[in-house]
Symmetry: C2
Subunit: 280 residues, 2 copies
Amino acid sequence: MHVSTLGIIGVGLLGGSIALAARRRGLADRVVGHDQSPDVLAQALQSGLLDEAHDLPAAVVAAAELTVFCTPVDCIAPQALALAASCHQGAVLTDVGSTKAAILRELDGRLPAGVVFVGSHPLAGSEKNGPAHASATLLEGRLVVVTPAADTPAQALGLVCSFWEALGARVQTMSADDHDRALALTSHLPHLVSSALAGILPQPLRELTASGFRDTTRLAAGQPALWSAIFEANQEPLLAALDRFEERLALFRAALGAADRQALEALLEEGKRIRDGLGR
Amino acid sequence: MHVSTLGIIGVGLLGGSIALAARRRGLADRVVGHDQSPDVLAQALQSGLLDEAHDLPAAVVAAAELTVFCTPVDCIAPQALALAASCHQGAVLTDVGSTKAAILRELDGRLPAGVVFVGSHPLAGSEKNGPAHASATLLEGRLVVVTPAADTPAQALGLVCSFWEALGARVQTMSADDHDRALALTSHLPHLVSSALAGILPQPLRELTASGFRDTTRLAAGQPALWSAIFEANQEPLLAALDRFEERLALFRAALGAADRQALEALLEEGKRIRDGLGR
């Protein structure tokens, strides 16, 4: 897998890591990028994440055969549409957004001929932010979900899948809807739950927390603007995941209210069995 | 702080760590212990956690001026009552149980003269178990809550507080009821939530989890028998904590149902502010 020019829109932690890994692995002759923050862009260039930094995103997509949008989920489709007319002929666009169906719906039938968008989602987060934390190995061994639509050209799909694999990731393809339903349960609900738990801790009890509380609420430190956009973009699947979670809480509540030790233990056993199956 | 003989009933991770730390710090001339599992007891002796291992717990309390019960919360009071008649004259008993009020209620007025129980709870857990993971530094810098009753003799309370401090821990005293209400929110509810989240993950989605799901569900790997006993012993405060959590979920649900981005962001901001205040 090799392109002459790789473009990155948004050179924060993930965009910066992708740029760096692509350079290190020689996947492109040059990696060009843009960020809405001039400081972040300058830092990315200075840290050697990029070969070229562009103040205008149009200059990135004009040069790049493959451009990766590493911007908030609610910005990706509007940006792709705004930049479509500037795109390199035959350009392939992809992204790293945590939800996929809303983006595909927004782009459906609206991109010009010769420009293809293929949705991607690398399952590689971090509570850290910014290009200063970029790592060439962030994607190694991680799973990237790629979500082709019915009309996605095989060549564009192949390019995007090969790109992620060349960065050391594993690729799984599925529909955008399947992705969103799955991630509602495996990522968005845990974030919501983590935040809800942190949100009810009264100040005087902070001293009485230990590692358990901190682990369970680690996700709550994520960026509210990014996550409120993800929640909104995945509204229906997240509401359905919340239903399932609340049903489970109701089982705990009933067992606890009845002081039914066996029922409590059976619920905890099931959680433990599943959690143990995930490894560390 | 120094005793001639320190007793440990239950030499798993926590009991073993306390024994080891006490030996290393020279807090007792000898540390004697018992475990209901002959294998665990033999291992603790062989690993140098104990000076002496006793097959009968009565032999431990007969020898020790201070005995620490490191057994499941529902076993502590029955064991203390069963062993009271064998206790060293002037013996002080303490424990490491995660709930306090139920134990104090069960013991209230039932211990013979010359035997005092002072409840303790070191906030130092681990998902690991057994004496093989014992660490002499497990309690260093950790908080131990000590829960005296109105009639607890000052001398016994002082001995227990000095003991934990001599192991490198910080001590805070509060009533058993205050402790239980606080820990319902900071420890027992996170455990319940973590288990409920793990419990609803369907097998095919395991591949689609990343570090966020694993962090949020880490507590679910805890021992179901221990935790169902803790939940039952702290029934009312835990139900109250669950009420508060479900009220918070209802706010998220309403904001999400209305696609109210600002409300979602405000909820997430509040959780982030509190979580950031806890540090790593």
